[in-house]
Protein backbone atom coordinates (compact mmCIF):
# COMPACT_ATOMS: atom_id res chain seq x y z
CA UNK A 1 0.00 0.00 0.00
CA UNK A 2 3.00 2.27 0.64
CA UNK A 3 3.88 2.12 -3.06
CA UNK A 4 0.37 3.25 -3.99
CA UNK A 5 0.56 6.33 -1.77
CA UNK A 6 4.05 7.05 -3.08
CA UNK A 7 2.65 7.03 -6.62
CA UNK A 8 0.29 9.81 -5.48
CA UNK A 9 3.36 11.99 -4.98
CA UNK A 10 4.03 11.58 -1.27
CA UNK A 11 7.50 11.12 0.16
CA UNK A 12 8.29 7.61 1.43
CA UNK A 13 7.88 8.54 5.11
CA UNK A 14 4.46 10.08 4.65
CA UNK A 15 3.30 7.33 2.31
CA UNK A 16 4.35 4.73 4.89
CA UNK A 17 2.54 6.60 7.65
CA UNK A 18 -0.70 6.97 5.70
CA UNK A 19 -0.53 3.36 4.46
CA UNK A 20 -0.03 2.03 7.99
CA UNK A 21 -2.88 4.08 9.42
CA UNK A 22 -5.14 2.88 6.59
CA UNK A 23 -4.05 -0.71 7.26
CA UNK A 24 -4.84 -0.37 10.97
CA UNK A 25 -8.28 1.07 10.21
CA UNK A 26 -8.92 -1.66 7.63
CA UNK A 27 -8.34 -4.27 10.33
CA UNK A 28 -9.77 -2.51 13.40
CA UNK A 29 -13.07 -1.26 11.97
CA UNK A 30 -14.24 -4.59 10.47
CA UNK A 31 -13.02 -6.25 13.66
CA UNK A 32 -15.22 -4.00 15.80
CA UNK A 33 -18.19 -4.68 13.55
CA UNK A 34 -17.32 -8.39 13.71
CA UNK A 35 -17.20 -8.28 17.50
CA UNK A 36 -20.66 -6.68 17.60
CA UNK A 37 -22.05 -9.40 15.34
CA UNK A 38 -20.21 -12.19 17.13
CA UNK A 39 -21.72 -11.14 20.47
CA UNK A 40 -25.12 -11.48 18.83
CA UNK A 41 -24.13 -14.87 17.36
CA UNK A 42 -22.88 -16.02 20.76
CA UNK A 43 -26.16 -15.13 22.42
CA UNK A 44 -28.15 -16.79 19.63
CA UNK A 45 -26.14 -20.03 19.76
CA UNK A 46 -26.32 -20.10 23.51
CA UNK A 47 -30.08 -19.50 23.41
CA UNK A 48 -30.63 -22.19 20.78
CA UNK A 49 -28.78 -24.74 22.90
CA UNK A 50 -30.90 -23.79 25.90
CA UNK A 51 -34.08 -24.01 23.77
CA UNK A 52 -34.69 -20.26 23.99
CA UNK A 53 -35.10 -17.68 21.26
CA UNK A 54 -32.32 -15.29 22.19
CA UNK A 55 -32.32 -11.65 21.07
CA UNK A 56 -35.07 -11.24 18.44
CA UNK A 57 -36.61 -7.81 18.96
CA UNK A 58 -34.19 -5.12 17.74
CA UNK A 59 -33.93 -5.19 13.95
CA UNK A 60 -34.66 -8.22 11.73
CA UNK A 61 -34.04 -11.43 13.76
CA UNK A 62 -32.58 -9.23 16.48
CA UNK A 63 -29.51 -8.52 14.36
CA UNK A 64 -29.13 -4.98 15.73
CA UNK A 65 -29.21 -6.07 19.37
CA UNK A 66 -25.50 -5.46 19.94
CA UNK A 67 -25.72 -1.95 18.49
CA UNK A 68 -28.70 -1.16 20.71
CA UNK A 69 -26.73 -2.43 23.70
CA UNK A 70 -23.75 -0.35 22.64
CA UNK A 71 -25.89 2.78 22.40
CA UNK A 72 -27.45 2.09 25.77
CA UNK A 73 -24.06 1.65 27.41
CA UNK A 74 -22.74 4.81 25.75
CA UNK A 75 -25.59 6.88 27.20
CA UNK A 76 -25.13 5.56 30.72
CA UNK A 77 -23.37 7.52 33.41
CA UNK A 78 -19.76 6.56 34.14
CA UNK A 79 -19.57 5.83 37.84
CA UNK A 80 -16.13 5.96 39.43
CA UNK A 81 -16.02 4.60 42.98
CA UNK A 82 -14.77 7.31 45.35
CA UNK A 83 -12.26 4.98 47.03
CA UNK A 84 -10.78 3.83 43.73
CA UNK A 85 -7.48 4.86 42.23
CA UNK A 86 -9.04 7.03 39.53
CA UNK A 87 -6.29 7.18 36.93
CA UNK A 88 -5.61 3.45 36.93
CA UNK A 89 -9.31 2.67 37.17
CA UNK A 90 -9.87 4.41 33.85
CA UNK A 91 -6.67 3.18 32.19
CA UNK A 92 -7.38 -0.53 32.87
CA UNK A 93 -10.24 -1.02 30.35
CA UNK A 94 -8.29 0.95 27.75
CA UNK A 95 -5.32 -1.40 28.23
CA UNK A 96 -7.52 -4.47 27.80
CA UNK A 97 -9.17 -3.10 24.68
CA UNK A 98 -5.95 -1.86 23.05
CA UNK A 99 -4.08 -5.09 23.71
CA UNK A 100 -6.96 -7.09 22.23
CA UNK A 101 -6.60 -5.12 18.98
CA UNK A 102 -2.79 -5.04 18.85
CA UNK A 103 -2.20 -8.73 18.21
CA UNK A 104 -4.21 -8.59 14.97
CA UNK A 105 -1.31 -6.74 13.32
CA UNK A 106 0.51 -9.98 12.49
CA UNK A 107 -2.44 -12.16 11.44
CA UNK A 108 -2.20 -12.93 7.70
CA UNK A 109 -5.61 -12.44 6.06
CA UNK A 110 -4.43 -13.55 2.65
CA UNK A 111 -1.01 -14.15 1.13
CA UNK A 112 0.55 -10.71 1.42
CA UNK A 113 -2.45 -9.14 3.21
CA UNK A 114 -0.77 -8.66 6.56
CA UNK A 115 -0.17 -5.39 8.40
CA UNK A 116 3.23 -6.24 9.88
CA UNK A 117 5.02 -9.11 8.15
CA UNK A 118 7.69 -9.53 10.84
CA UNK A 119 10.15 -12.37 11.46
CA UNK A 120 9.04 -12.81 15.06
CA UNK A 121 5.28 -12.80 14.36
CA UNK A 122 4.37 -15.63 16.67
CA UNK A 123 6.55 -14.27 19.49
CA UNK A 124 4.79 -10.95 19.03
CA UNK A 125 1.42 -12.66 19.49
CA UNK A 126 2.74 -14.37 22.63
CA UNK A 127 4.13 -11.07 23.96
CA UNK A 128 0.89 -9.19 23.35
CA UNK A 129 -1.30 -11.90 24.82
CA UNK A 130 0.86 -11.87 27.95
CA UNK A 131 0.03 -8.15 28.30
CA UNK A 132 -3.69 -8.90 28.46
CA UNK A 133 -3.45 -9.79 32.12
CA UNK A 134 -2.56 -6.21 33.09
CA UNK A 135 -5.96 -4.81 32.19
CA UNK A 136 -7.55 -7.29 34.56
CA UNK A 137 -5.00 -6.96 37.38
CA UNK A 138 -5.01 -3.16 37.34
CA UNK A 139 -8.82 -3.14 37.32
CA UNK A 140 -8.92 -5.49 40.28
CA UNK A 141 -6.49 -3.45 42.31
CA UNK A 142 -7.66 0.05 41.45
CA UNK A 143 -11.33 -0.73 42.14
CA UNK A 144 -10.38 -1.02 45.82
CA UNK A 145 -13.03 -3.63 46.36
CA UNK A 146 -12.86 -7.25 47.52
CA UNK A 147 -14.37 -9.19 44.66
CA UNK A 148 -12.52 -7.50 41.81
CA UNK A 149 -9.30 -8.07 43.70
CA UNK A 150 -9.96 -11.79 44.14
CA UNK A 151 -10.82 -11.97 40.47
CA UNK A 152 -7.61 -10.19 39.48
CA UNK A 153 -5.59 -12.69 41.53
CA UNK A 154 -7.35 -15.58 39.87
CA UNK A 155 -6.97 -14.10 36.42
CA UNK A 156 -3.24 -13.49 36.71
CA UNK A 157 -2.53 -16.98 38.07
CA UNK A 158 -4.73 -18.56 35.40
CA UNK A 159 -3.27 -16.64 32.47
CA UNK A 160 0.35 -17.18 33.51
CA UNK A 161 -0.27 -20.91 33.99
CA UNK A 162 -1.81 -21.47 30.60
CA UNK A 163 0.64 -19.22 28.77
CA UNK A 164 3.39 -21.69 29.69
CA UNK A 165 1.76 -24.62 27.93
CA UNK A 166 0.63 -22.41 25.03
CA UNK A 167 4.28 -21.44 24.59
CA UNK A 168 5.33 -25.07 24.29
CA UNK A 169 2.48 -25.87 21.91
CA UNK A 170 3.54 -22.97 19.69
CA UNK A 171 7.12 -24.26 19.77
CA UNK A 172 5.91 -27.56 18.24
CA UNK A 173 4.29 -25.64 15.38
CA UNK A 174 7.33 -23.41 14.94
CA UNK A 175 9.63 -26.43 14.85
CA UNK A 176 7.59 -27.96 12.08
CA UNK A 177 7.23 -24.76 10.09
CA UNK A 178 10.83 -23.70 10.69
CA UNK A 179 9.76 -20.07 11.09
CA UNK A 180 8.15 -17.65 13.53
CA UNK A 181 6.57 -15.71 10.69
CA UNK A 182 2.84 -16.42 10.55
CA UNK A 183 2.74 -16.13 6.77
CA UNK A 184 5.50 -18.75 6.46
CA UNK A 185 3.68 -20.97 8.92
CA UNK A 186 0.53 -20.82 6.79
CA UNK A 187 2.50 -21.49 3.59
CA UNK A 188 4.24 -24.42 5.29
CA UNK A 189 0.87 -26.08 5.79
CA UNK A 190 0.12 -26.22 2.06
CA UNK A 191 -0.35 -29.85 1.10
CA UNK A 192 1.07 -30.86 4.46
CA UNK A 193 -0.43 -34.36 4.61
CA UNK A 194 0.00 -36.53 1.47
CA UNK A 195 0.16 -33.30 -0.51
CA UNK A 196 -3.62 -33.10 -0.31
CA UNK A 197 -4.73 -31.67 3.03
CA UNK A 198 -3.74 -28.17 4.13
CA UNK A 199 -3.17 -27.87 7.86
CA UNK A 200 -0.94 -29.12 10.62
CA UNK A 201 -3.97 -30.50 12.41
CA UNK A 202 -4.02 -33.50 10.05
CA UNK A 203 -0.55 -34.43 11.24
CA UNK A 204 -0.76 -37.15 13.92
CA UNK A 205 2.06 -35.55 15.94
CA UNK A 206 0.46 -32.11 15.93
CA UNK A 207 -3.20 -33.08 16.29
CA UNK A 208 -2.95 -33.56 20.09
CA UNK A 209 -1.25 -30.15 20.26
CA UNK A 210 -4.23 -28.59 18.50
CA UNK A 211 -6.59 -30.11 21.07
CA UNK A 212 -4.44 -28.72 23.88
CA UNK A 213 -4.27 -25.35 22.13
CA UNK A 214 -8.04 -25.14 21.77
CA UNK A 215 -8.58 -25.86 25.46
CA UNK A 216 -5.72 -23.60 26.59
CA UNK A 217 -7.15 -20.88 24.38
CA UNK A 218 -10.42 -21.07 26.27
CA UNK A 219 -8.52 -20.83 29.56
CA UNK A 220 -6.33 -18.00 28.31
CA UNK A 221 -9.29 -15.89 27.23
CA UNK A 222 -11.12 -16.78 30.49
CA UNK A 223 -13.99 -18.17 28.49
CA UNK A 224 -16.42 -20.78 29.84
CA UNK A 225 -15.78 -23.39 31.24
CA UNK A 226 -12.74 -21.54 32.61
CA UNK A 227 -14.45 -18.21 33.34
CA UNK A 228 -13.52 -18.29 37.00
CA UNK A 229 -12.52 -14.64 36.90
CA UNK A 230 -16.17 -13.69 36.54
CA UNK A 231 -17.80 -16.55 38.41
CA UNK A 232 -20.98 -14.77 39.42
CA UNK A 233 -21.83 -17.21 42.21
CA UNK A 234 -18.57 -16.40 44.02
CA UNK A 235 -17.29 -13.04 42.79
CA UNK A 236 -20.35 -10.96 41.79
CA UNK A 237 -19.04 -10.03 38.32
CA UNK A 238 -15.31 -10.44 38.86
CA UNK A 239 -12.87 -7.69 37.97
CA UNK A 240 -15.51 -5.60 36.20
CA UNK A 241 -17.85 -5.39 39.19
CA UNK A 242 -17.22 -1.67 39.76
CA UNK A 243 -17.30 -0.72 36.09
CA UNK A 244 -20.18 0.93 34.32
CA UNK A 245 -20.95 2.57 31.00
CA UNK A 246 -18.25 2.70 28.28
CA UNK A 247 -15.50 1.43 30.59
CA UNK A 248 -17.52 -1.75 31.01
CA UNK A 249 -18.21 -1.91 27.29
CA UNK A 250 -14.48 -1.76 26.55
CA UNK A 251 -13.98 -4.91 28.65
CA UNK A 252 -16.81 -6.55 26.83
CA UNK A 253 -15.45 -5.70 23.39
CA UNK A 254 -11.87 -6.57 24.39
CA UNK A 255 -12.93 -9.96 25.70
CA UNK A 256 -14.70 -10.89 22.47
CA UNK A 257 -11.88 -9.51 20.33
CA UNK A 258 -9.54 -11.79 22.29
CA UNK A 259 -11.81 -14.78 21.69
CA UNK A 260 -11.86 -13.99 17.97
CA UNK A 261 -8.06 -13.73 18.02
CA UNK A 262 -7.81 -17.17 19.61
CA UNK A 263 -10.11 -18.55 16.91
CA UNK A 264 -7.96 -16.87 14.24
CA UNK A 265 -4.80 -18.34 15.79
CA UNK A 266 -6.38 -21.81 15.77
CA UNK A 267 -7.12 -21.33 12.10
CA UNK A 268 -3.73 -19.87 11.19
CA UNK A 269 -1.54 -22.25 13.18
CA UNK A 270 -3.32 -25.55 12.73
CA UNK A 271 -6.00 -25.32 10.05
CA UNK A 272 -4.11 -23.66 7.23
CA UNK A 273 -5.20 -20.04 7.76
CA UNK A 274 -6.24 -18.51 4.46
CA UNK A 275 -5.64 -21.74 2.53
CA UNK A 276 -8.60 -23.92 1.59
CA UNK A 277 -8.78 -27.15 3.60
CA UNK A 278 -7.91 -29.30 0.56
CA UNK A 279 -5.05 -28.52 -1.81
CA UNK A 280 -7.21 -28.60 -4.95
CA UNK A 281 -6.83 -25.88 -7.57
CA UNK A 282 -10.51 -24.78 -8.02
CA UNK A 283 -10.78 -24.07 -4.29
CA UNK A 284 -8.08 -21.40 -4.62
CA UNK A 285 -10.50 -19.26 -6.66
CA UNK A 286 -12.30 -18.49 -3.41
CA UNK A 287 -10.46 -15.57 -1.80
CA UNK A 288 -8.25 -16.47 1.17
CA UNK A 289 -10.08 -14.06 3.48
CA UNK A 290 -13.26 -16.08 3.02
CA UNK A 291 -11.55 -19.31 4.07
CA UNK A 292 -10.01 -17.63 7.09
CA UNK A 293 -13.34 -16.09 8.06
CA UNK A 294 -15.15 -19.42 7.71
CA UNK A 295 -12.57 -21.09 9.94
CA UNK A 296 -12.77 -18.32 12.54
CA UNK A 297 -16.57 -18.59 12.58
CA UNK A 298 -16.37 -22.36 12.94
CA UNK A 299 -14.05 -22.08 15.92
CA UNK A 300 -16.21 -19.38 17.45
CA UNK A 301 -19.14 -21.79 17.15
CA UNK A 302 -17.05 -24.39 18.99
CA UNK A 303 -16.26 -21.86 21.73
CA UNK A 304 -19.97 -21.00 22.11
CA UNK A 305 -20.93 -24.64 22.01
CA UNK A 306 -18.54 -25.41 24.86
CA UNK A 307 -19.80 -22.38 26.80
CA UNK A 308 -23.38 -23.58 26.47
CA UNK A 309 -22.75 -27.20 27.42
CA UNK A 310 -19.85 -27.54 29.86
CA UNK A 311 -20.20 -26.55 33.54
CA UNK A 312 -17.62 -24.25 35.11
CA UNK A 313 -14.38 -25.75 36.42
CA UNK A 314 -13.37 -25.53 40.03
CA UNK A 315 -10.25 -23.43 40.58
CA UNK A 316 -8.04 -26.27 41.83
CA UNK A 317 -9.12 -28.39 38.86
CA UNK A 318 -8.14 -25.57 36.53
CA UNK A 319 -4.67 -25.28 38.04
CA UNK A 320 -4.23 -29.05 38.04
CA UNK A 321 -5.20 -29.27 34.37
CA UNK A 322 -2.75 -26.52 33.44
CA UNK A 323 0.29 -27.59 35.42
CA UNK A 324 -0.05 -31.34 35.86
CA UNK A 325 -1.57 -32.38 32.53
CA UNK A 326 -1.07 -29.76 29.82
CA UNK A 327 2.47 -28.75 30.74
CA UNK A 328 3.97 -32.29 30.83
CA UNK A 329 2.05 -33.26 27.70
CA UNK A 330 3.17 -30.25 25.71
CA UNK A 331 6.76 -30.76 26.90
CA UNK A 332 6.60 -34.39 25.81
CA UNK A 333 5.37 -33.35 22.39
CA UNK A 334 8.16 -30.78 22.02
CA UNK A 335 10.57 -33.67 22.54
CA UNK A 336 8.65 -35.97 20.17
CA UNK A 337 8.28 -33.39 17.41
CA UNK A 338 11.89 -32.22 17.58
CA UNK A 339 13.09 -35.84 17.74
CA UNK A 340 11.04 -36.77 14.69
CA UNK A 341 12.30 -33.75 12.78
CA UNK A 342 15.89 -34.54 13.78
CA UNK A 343 15.52 -38.04 12.36
CA UNK A 344 13.74 -37.11 9.13
CA UNK A 345 14.40 -33.52 8.13
CA UNK A 346 17.67 -32.57 9.79
CA UNK A 347 19.36 -35.97 9.67
CA UNK A 348 22.39 -35.96 11.97
Amino acid sequence: MTAFFQSLGMSYDWAWLVATVCGILLIALPLMLGVAMIIYADRKIWAAMALRRGPNVVGPWGLLQSFADGLKVMLQETIIPSASNKGLFLIAPIVTFTVALMAWAVIPFNSGAILADINVGLLYVLAISSLGVYGVVIAGWSSNSKYPFFSAMRASAQMISYEVSIGFILICVVLWAGSFNLNDIVQGQKGHVFGILNGYVFNPLLFPMWVLFLISGMAETARAPFDLTEAESELVAGYQTEYSSMAFALYWLGEYANVLLMCALNAVLFWGGYLPPVDWAPLYYVPGVVWLLLKILFFFFVFSWVKATVPRFRYDQLMRLGWKIFLPMSLLFVVLVSGYLMLTRYAV
Binding site: D13, W16, L17, L88, I118, N119, V120, L123, Y124, L126, A127, S130, L131, V133, Y134, V137, I138, W141, F149, A152, M153, S156, I160, E163, F180, D316, Q317, R320
Partner: protein, 205 residues
Protein backbone atom coordinates in the same frame (compact mmCIF):
# COMPACT_ATOMS: atom_id res chain seq x y z
CA UNK B 1 12.55 10.74 9.97
CA UNK B 2 10.13 8.16 11.40
CA UNK B 3 13.11 6.29 12.78
CA UNK B 4 14.36 9.41 14.59
CA UNK B 5 10.92 10.31 15.93
CA UNK B 6 10.43 6.76 17.19
CA UNK B 7 13.86 6.73 18.81
CA UNK B 8 13.34 9.99 20.69
CA UNK B 9 9.83 8.96 21.70
CA UNK B 10 10.96 5.60 23.12
CA UNK B 11 14.12 7.02 24.69
CA UNK B 12 12.31 9.87 26.42
CA UNK B 13 9.63 7.53 27.70
CA UNK B 14 12.22 5.06 29.02
CA UNK B 15 14.06 7.76 30.94
CA UNK B 16 10.90 9.47 32.18
CA UNK B 17 9.22 6.27 33.34
CA UNK B 18 12.46 5.03 34.92
CA UNK B 19 12.62 8.28 36.89
CA UNK B 20 8.98 7.89 37.90
CA UNK B 21 9.69 4.37 39.18
CA UNK B 22 11.72 5.89 42.01
CA UNK B 23 9.68 9.08 42.35
CA UNK B 24 6.26 7.47 42.63
CA UNK B 25 4.96 7.32 46.20
CA UNK B 26 2.77 4.29 45.65
CA UNK B 27 4.70 1.02 45.08
CA UNK B 28 2.03 -0.25 42.68
CA UNK B 29 2.50 2.87 40.55
CA UNK B 30 6.25 2.24 40.67
CA UNK B 31 5.81 -1.27 39.27
CA UNK B 32 3.52 0.04 36.54
CA UNK B 33 6.06 2.69 35.53
CA UNK B 34 8.70 -0.04 35.51
CA UNK B 35 6.54 -2.01 33.09
CA UNK B 36 6.26 1.04 30.85
CA UNK B 37 10.05 1.42 30.97
CA UNK B 38 10.52 -2.24 29.94
CA UNK B 39 8.05 -1.81 27.15
CA UNK B 40 9.78 1.23 25.71
CA UNK B 41 13.16 -0.46 26.08
CA UNK B 42 11.73 -3.22 23.90
CA UNK B 43 10.77 -0.52 21.40
CA UNK B 44 14.39 0.69 21.35
CA UNK B 45 15.57 -2.90 20.76
CA UNK B 46 13.28 -3.13 17.73
CA UNK B 47 14.79 0.10 16.39
CA UNK B 48 18.33 -1.33 16.48
CA UNK B 49 17.10 -4.46 14.71
CA UNK B 50 17.16 -6.84 17.67
CA UNK B 51 13.52 -7.85 17.37
CA UNK B 52 14.04 -11.24 19.02
CA UNK B 53 15.51 -9.65 22.17
CA UNK B 54 12.69 -7.10 22.16
CA UNK B 55 10.03 -9.82 22.10
CA UNK B 56 11.83 -11.78 24.82
CA UNK B 57 11.99 -8.63 26.95
CA UNK B 58 8.24 -8.20 26.66
CA UNK B 59 7.39 -11.88 27.14
CA UNK B 60 9.74 -12.55 30.06
CA UNK B 61 9.94 -9.24 31.92
CA UNK B 62 6.62 -7.58 31.16
CA UNK B 63 4.57 -10.74 30.76
CA UNK B 64 5.86 -12.82 33.64
CA UNK B 65 8.33 -11.14 36.03
CA UNK B 66 6.50 -7.83 36.37
CA UNK B 67 3.15 -9.59 36.85
CA UNK B 68 4.62 -11.41 39.84
CA UNK B 69 6.12 -8.14 41.14
CA UNK B 70 2.72 -6.52 40.85
CA UNK B 71 1.14 -9.51 42.52
CA UNK B 72 3.38 -9.15 45.57
CA UNK B 73 3.24 -5.36 45.77
CA UNK B 74 -0.56 -5.32 45.54
CA UNK B 75 -0.83 -7.60 48.54
CA UNK B 76 1.29 -5.29 50.70
CA UNK B 77 -0.52 -3.24 53.25
CA UNK B 78 1.10 0.12 52.63
CA UNK B 79 1.28 2.66 55.41
CA UNK B 80 2.61 5.87 53.88
CA UNK B 81 3.45 7.52 57.20
CA UNK B 82 5.61 4.55 58.15
CA UNK B 83 7.34 4.63 54.77
CA UNK B 84 8.43 8.21 55.34
CA UNK B 85 9.49 7.58 58.96
CA UNK B 86 12.39 5.35 57.93
CA UNK B 87 13.73 7.92 55.49
CA UNK B 88 16.32 9.63 57.77
CA UNK B 89 17.55 6.33 59.16
CA UNK B 90 18.12 4.79 55.74
CA UNK B 91 19.48 7.98 54.19
CA UNK B 92 23.23 7.07 54.48
CA UNK B 93 22.62 3.65 52.94
CA UNK B 94 20.66 5.24 50.12
CA UNK B 95 23.43 7.73 49.48
CA UNK B 96 25.99 4.90 49.38
CA UNK B 97 24.00 3.00 46.78
CA UNK B 98 23.53 6.19 44.79
CA UNK B 99 27.30 6.78 44.85
CA UNK B 100 28.03 3.24 43.67
CA UNK B 101 25.54 3.63 40.84
CA UNK B 102 27.02 6.98 39.86
CA UNK B 103 30.52 5.49 39.81
CA UNK B 104 29.27 2.64 37.62
CA UNK B 105 27.63 5.12 35.27
CA UNK B 106 30.82 7.17 34.96
CA UNK B 107 32.88 4.03 34.39
CA UNK B 108 30.43 2.77 31.81
CA UNK B 109 30.42 6.00 29.86
CA UNK B 110 34.22 6.17 30.13
CA UNK B 111 34.56 2.64 28.76
CA UNK B 112 32.13 3.42 25.96
CA UNK B 113 34.06 6.57 25.02
CA UNK B 114 37.31 4.56 24.97
CA UNK B 115 36.26 2.71 21.84
CA UNK B 116 34.02 0.03 20.38
CA UNK B 117 33.96 -3.29 22.19
CA UNK B 118 34.85 -6.24 19.96
CA UNK B 119 32.79 -9.16 21.11
CA UNK B 120 34.10 -11.47 18.43
CA UNK B 121 37.08 -13.79 18.95
CA UNK B 122 40.21 -13.88 16.75
CA UNK B 123 39.14 -17.12 15.10
CA UNK B 124 36.20 -15.25 13.60
CA UNK B 125 33.44 -17.49 14.94
CA UNK B 126 31.32 -14.57 16.04
CA UNK B 127 31.58 -12.68 12.80
CA UNK B 128 28.25 -11.06 11.90
CA UNK B 129 25.97 -13.55 10.24
CA UNK B 130 24.85 -11.76 7.13
CA UNK B 131 21.50 -12.51 5.58
CA UNK B 132 20.12 -14.38 8.55
CA UNK B 133 17.31 -13.40 10.85
CA UNK B 134 17.92 -12.51 14.46
CA UNK B 135 16.66 -15.80 15.83
CA UNK B 136 18.74 -17.89 13.45
CA UNK B 137 21.98 -16.10 14.26
CA UNK B 138 21.37 -16.19 18.03
CA UNK B 139 20.47 -19.88 17.80
CA UNK B 140 23.51 -20.67 15.67
CA UNK B 141 25.79 -19.10 18.29
CA UNK B 142 24.00 -20.39 21.40
CA UNK B 143 23.87 -24.01 20.28
CA UNK B 144 27.37 -24.22 18.90
CA UNK B 145 29.92 -21.85 20.35
CA UNK B 146 28.28 -21.07 23.67
CA UNK B 147 26.59 -24.46 24.14
CA UNK B 148 28.32 -25.20 27.45
CA UNK B 149 27.57 -21.75 28.90
CA UNK B 150 23.98 -21.96 27.69
CA UNK B 151 23.41 -25.38 29.19
CA UNK B 152 25.03 -24.42 32.49
CA UNK B 153 22.83 -21.31 32.67
CA UNK B 154 19.84 -23.61 32.25
CA UNK B 155 21.15 -25.90 34.98
CA UNK B 156 21.67 -22.98 37.38
CA UNK B 157 18.11 -21.82 36.78
CA UNK B 158 16.82 -25.34 37.40
CA UNK B 159 18.74 -25.57 40.67
CA UNK B 160 17.45 -22.15 41.71
CA UNK B 161 13.89 -23.20 40.95
CA UNK B 162 14.15 -26.46 42.87
CA UNK B 163 15.86 -24.61 45.73
CA UNK B 164 13.06 -22.07 45.95
CA UNK B 165 10.45 -24.81 46.01
CA UNK B 166 12.31 -26.82 48.67
CA UNK B 167 12.81 -23.74 50.85
CA UNK B 168 9.21 -22.58 50.77
CA UNK B 169 7.40 -25.90 50.68
CA UNK B 170 6.08 -27.13 53.98
CA UNK B 171 4.01 -30.20 54.56
CA UNK B 172 0.88 -29.31 56.48
CA UNK B 173 -0.86 -32.08 58.32
CA UNK B 174 -4.22 -30.41 58.82
CA UNK B 175 -5.12 -29.74 55.18
CA UNK B 176 -7.30 -32.00 53.13
CA UNK B 177 -6.37 -32.51 49.52
CA UNK B 178 -8.76 -33.53 46.81
CA UNK B 179 -8.30 -36.77 44.94
CA UNK B 180 -9.53 -35.88 41.48
CA UNK B 181 -9.70 -39.41 40.07
CA UNK B 182 -11.73 -40.50 43.09
CA UNK B 183 -14.09 -37.59 42.57
CA UNK B 184 -14.48 -38.29 38.88
CA UNK B 185 -15.08 -42.03 39.33
CA UNK B 186 -17.81 -41.45 41.93
CA UNK B 187 -21.26 -42.59 40.76
CA UNK B 188 -24.69 -41.59 42.13
CA UNK B 189 -25.54 -45.04 43.48
CA UNK B 190 -22.38 -45.08 45.64
CA UNK B 191 -22.99 -41.60 46.94
CA UNK B 192 -26.70 -41.70 47.79
CA UNK B 193 -28.88 -44.05 49.79
CA UNK B 194 -32.59 -44.38 49.22
CA UNK B 195 -34.38 -45.33 52.46
CA UNK B 196 -37.94 -45.15 53.67
CA UNK B 197 -37.79 -44.72 57.44
CA UNK B 198 -40.80 -45.18 59.69
CA UNK B 199 -42.41 -42.03 61.04
CA UNK B 200 -40.64 -40.82 64.18
CA UNK B 201 -37.56 -43.01 63.66
CA UNK B 202 -34.23 -41.68 62.48
CA UNK B 203 -32.02 -43.05 59.75
CA UNK B 204 -28.94 -45.14 60.50
CA UNK B 205 -26.21 -44.15 58.08
Amino acid sequence: MIHAIAFYLFATLVVASAALVILARNPVHSVLWLILAFFNAAGLMVLVGAEFIAMLLVIVYVGAVAVLFLFVVMMLDIDFAELRAGFIRNFPLGMLIALVLLAELVLGIGAYKAGVIHLGTPDGMAAPLVGRSNIESIGALLYSKYLFLFESAGLILLVAMIGAIVLTHRERKDTRTQNISKQVSRRPDEATVNTKPEVGKGVQL
